[in-house]
């Protein structure tokens, strides 16, 4: 983690990874502070929670806390909160510890769950895992809430849902891993499973007896429903007579200390924040920090996040070579932005404001228009699996680009339409909409050099390619030759900017 960031270009790239996109002036501020001070500041900023804001929005319109209020709060916090790194990491965590409205808790429960992720984003992974496990929203979604010991009279058994997914998705993963995240192979060349069905059944017994009171506080133990017998999970004995709390605590320790957990979680966080195809050495460096932050502490999220954002591979722009080979490849560096991240980038570039003095409204049906929305995945496997690759070059090179999985014919069109709506919204007065101030653009649109400089600063934090700059310049010349008015010039060039692949991807 010796690397540091002194160049504007590196600072811009860093801010795309660590926030919902740089706003005007952010790069200069960042360089003035220096990356260490910027990070320290972010790690110590106050939490900007979502549920209280969503509640305020609901009250302002006389509603209960519904999905519209919750997603409005998500947009406002993501676009405007000062604790950008925490907001960005919490969003990444929401795609690992997936809870969804689909078959899950109500909007209030979801908002509170997001706040649990925010609160633990910079804590210890052990506490995060326990907080997730005992959160009533997760209890509802993966049905741990209400799970009872077996009842032979009724022929019923403990619910295995959470026991299975906490191992498969939230800690160990399916396969035994090497330190660099590659599956371990046995002497016959086969991958080795991390757990068995028997482990699932036994862990389900361990986790019996938890119930929900409200969505606003962790689940509580009910001894009458708990299985007090001896259990054995992953080779470890859970002694007879342990309380639900004791059993749960031992289970959390077991999963937290499992040798797979650092690699499994590090890969997922890397893919959400920095690159789709990390080199194995990068994975190993991050996992090593997960195992020990340098002071003998395992699971220190602050150290892990720093390790992910400041790794030399990320600074140098190195990614995994083609065909999962060693070595590195600069072309393979980066990732596709998810639709709502691309939209958040655009809105921060515009510095959008809500037209309603009392609330932000959900930006036009987030789920329908972006193919995704926070805490609305179709299943616990998120909107896409971390190893998805689209057909063609990326598959052929055995690389991944998970975000491509939601870029369907339909979502590509709708994303384009929403961005266009945002471009047109500069003079919107619709109280349920957002708007932005176009004056700077109007002042410069007939001074091409200055205008392109403005576009570069606002939409790319200085990273716009010379090819795109040249193209926009040519566009302006042609629009001028055709006697188009300023409105057309601005609209057309902004449209061209937002749909450029370099705006929709991050390096």
């Amino acid at each position: 983690m010796a690397s540091s960031i002194y160049q504007p270009e590196q600072a811009a790239k860093f801010l795309y990874r660590a926030t919902f996109g740089p706003k005007s002036g952010d790069v200069d501020d960042f360089l003035q502070m220096g990356v260490e001070a910027w990070l320290d500041d972010q790690f110590t900023r106050n939490w900007r929670l979502h549920r209280p804001l969503a509640e305020r929005y609901a009250n302002a319109s006389g509603d209960t806390l519904n999905e519209n209020a919750r997603l409005s709060a998500w947009w406002n916090r993501s676009l405007n909160a000062g604790d950008q790194l925490r907001q960005r990491v919490a969003y990444a965590l929401s795609q690992i510890f997936v809870v969804s409205n689909s078959g899950g808790p109500n909007a209030e429960g979801l908002a509170e769950y997001y706040d649990v992720l925010l609160k633990h984003a910079f804590g210890n992974f052990r506490d995060l895992l326990e907080a997730v496990t005992l959160s009533p929203a997760m209890g509802k979604y993966l049905t741990l809430e209400g799970s009872r010991k077996a009842n032979l009279d009724n022929n019923t058994f403990p619910d295995e849902n959470y026991a299975r997914e906490v191992m498969q998705l939230f800690s160990l993963g399916l396969w035994q891993l090497q330190n660099n995240g590659m599956p371990k192979l046995d002497s016959q060349g086969n991958k080795e499973p991390t757990y068995t069905q028997q482990d699932v059944e036994e862990l389900a017994r361990v986790l019996t007896g938890w119930r929900r009171d409200t969505y606003l506080k962790p689940m509580y133990a009910d001894d009458r429903r708990h299985d007090f017998g001896e259990k054995r999970v992953l080779g470890q004995i859970f002694p007879e007579g342990q309380s639900p709390e004791q059993d749960l605590s031992q289970a959390m320790d077991l999963l937290f200390n499992h040798r797979n957990t650092p690699m499994f979680i590090s890969i997922l966080l890397i893919k959400r924040l920095t690159v789709s195809n990390p080199r194995r050495s990068y994975i190993q460096r991050v996992a090593d920090v997960f195992k020990d932050n340098g002071q003998g502490i395992r699971g220190d999220m602050v150290a892990v996040i720093k390790a992910i954002l400041l790794d030399q591979d990320v600074i140098d722009g190195k990614a995994m070579a083609d065909h999962q080979a060693h070595g590195s490849n600069g072309r393979n560096f980066g990732k596709v932005k998810e639709p709502i991240i691309a939209m958040a980038n655009l809105c921060r570039a515009f510095n959008v404001k809500s037209n309603d003095p009392d609330r932000w409204w959900d930006f036009a049906a987030t789920q329908n228009n972006y193919g995704q929305a926070p805490l609305r995945a179709p299943s616990v496997f998120n909107f896409y699996e971390p190893d998805y690759a689209p057909k063609g070059e990326i598959t052929d090179k055995q690389l991944t680009a998970p975000e491509f999985a939601i870029l369907s014919m339909d979502s590509m069109r709708r994303i384009s339409n929403r961005m266009w709506t945002m471009i047109l919204a500069h003079d919107s007065t619709d109280v349920k909409h957002w708007s932005w101030n176009r004056r700077q653009f109007e002042n410069r649109v007939n001074k091409p050099d200055e205008y392109i400089e403005l576009l570069n600063e606002r939409f790319f934090a200085g990273l716009m390619s010379t090819e795109l700059a040249g193209f926009i310049r040519q566009m302006l010349d042609e629009l001028t030759a055709d006697n188009r008015n300023d409105d057309r010039k601005i609209n057309d060039t902004l449209f061209a900017i937002q749909c450029s692949p370099e705006f929709r991807c991050q390096e």
Binding site: F157, P193, V336, P390, F495
Partner: protein
């Protein structure tokens, strides 16, 4: 021994993929012959459908065993929808009461039930081999879904079986004949033609592209080459999605809404499917074979199952019944076969008010080509500890999903080697079944 067999199977599969040239089956020559048309429609029930509460025995003996195993989750015998079918071992079958709308398709012998099917890599029931190998990660949703979509031995394959089949058959069209109305799906992946992924709303306008300058700007991005892998592939994807939308919008607006479809998620998907079938000969499609993926989530009913499951089954039944009626109206009932798949069946015993992940389930197949009037497969013994009891009420399938899938591929006139498409078939006495 087991390991070497697995390696052998993997080795032959790989060899087959590289050494067998795409089979020119005559299908691609038959564009002009509209009678040759066929379509497969997969209805995926995401989350693991409790199939043992979807198809229920009506006979007293079998019903009592069911009721004994199910206790408070059992559907009352008097509420069952009786069908004119019995399993191979003579157990008369009925449907969950919320599925009454499918009764007429069964009465017309155009629907059947595949009894107790699931993921298998070799026979277990009746095989007299106590050490039979079982598939990896039974009861894990995503990996079991993967097996249904790629084949039991093909979990590590990047491609799906419908995709590989279409690739071998050299099927094409101006737009892909592989279509999902339910997101990107492994089932359709292949190396030949990209599946068309859409929602039930089909296609629509790019609102920003109502002038030539903006359209020109976007098209310039399509043609640009980028040094970065992601930007480069994004530009290609953006172009494909744009042109697909453009072509599809045109054909879909040429066909009006069809009658009789319920306004539910699945109803909307099957409605659009029926429209795409209706316009299959349009210039921008020219499909003489089509493959559709539609789906419905919510079947992971660990608790409060009764109401949830009834509503889900009702949605499946009503949408499927409407689809069957529409196919009859289009005169294509025997050219279009719809079938269900699900991650796995659920455990027979309950978790209090719900059910946990299991293994075997049943599938419903609907279409005029189906040999109805009977069900396929043996009704298993639901008693704890029976030969069907894998572990605490998780049932061992007797029919392999790959046998069912191979039967569908065969009906679709796939002329390639079924054992290459589904390597597990080598282990079974029959590659295909007789249900169609």
């Amino acid at each position: 021994m087991k390991l070497s067999r697995r390696h052998f199977l993997k080795g032959t599969a790989a060899l087959g993929a590289t050494s067998v040239a795409p089979a020119l089956t005559g299908l691609n020559m038959a564009h002009a012959n509209q009678d040759d048309y066929k379509a497969l429609v997969c209805i995926f029930l995401f989350g693991g459908n409790d199939a043992y509460n979807m198809v229920i025995p009506t006979d007293d003996d079998a019903y009592q065993k069911y009721e004994q195993a199910r206790r408070n989750l059992a559907i009352a015998q008097s509420d069952l929808v009786p069908l004119n079918i019995a399993s191979d071992n003579g157990v008369k079958l009925g449907l969950h009461p919320s599925m009454a709308s499918l009764k007429s398709a069964f009465a017309e012998d155009s629907a059947t039930v595949i009894v107790n099917s699931g993921q298998l890599v070799e026979p277990i029931i009746g095989a007299n081999t106590p050490n039979s190998r079982v598939p990896d990660f039974l009861m894990a949703h995503n990996l079991q879904q993967t097996m249904w979509q790629s084949g039991a031995e093909n979990m590590n394959d990047k491609l799906g079986w419908a995709g590989r089949m279409v690739q071998d058959m050299n099927l094409s069209g101006s737009l892909s004949p592989l279509m999902s109305l339910n997101g990107e799906q492994k089932w359709l992946r292949n190396n030949h033609v990209e599946p068309l992924v859409m929602t039930s709303e089909g296609a629509g306008d790019y609102t920003g592209l109502n002038n030539s300058d903006r359209l020109g700007a976007m098209r310039r991005h399509f043609d640009e080459k980028y040094a970065n892998l992601f930007a480069d592939n994004y530009s290609t994807a953006m172009a494909s999605r744009y042109y697909e939308n453009d072509a599809l919008e045109e054909v879909l607006t040429s066909v009006g809404d069809l009658d009789g479809f319920p306004q539910t998620g699945l109803g909307d998907m099957l409605h659009t499917t029926a429209k795409l079938i209706k316009v299959r000969n349009a210039a921008s499609l020219q499909h003489n074979r089509q493959i559709f993926f539609v789906g419905l989530g919510g079947f992971d009913t660990h608790k409060d199952q009764a109401g949830t499951h009834a509503a889900l089954l009702g949605q499946v039944s009503d949408a499927l019944a409407a689809f069957y009626q529409e196919m009859k109206a289009q005169g294509l009932s025997d050219k279009v076969t719809a079938f269900t798949m699900s991650d796995f069946g659920r455990r027979i015993m309950a978790n209090d008010s719900g059910t946990d992940h299991g293994w075997a389930g049943h599938q419903i197949v609907v279409g005029g080509a189906v040999k109805g009037g009977r069900a396929y497969g043996n009704w298993p013994d639901l008693t704890p500890g029976s030969e069907y009891d894998y572990n605490n009420g998780r049932l061992i399938p007797e029919i392999a999903a790959d046998q069912v899938n191979a039967t569908l591929a065969n009906w679709f006139d796939y002329q390639g080697d079924l054992e290459t498409l589904f390597p597990s078939l080598k282990m079974f006495p029959q590659n295909t079944l007789d249900f169609i």
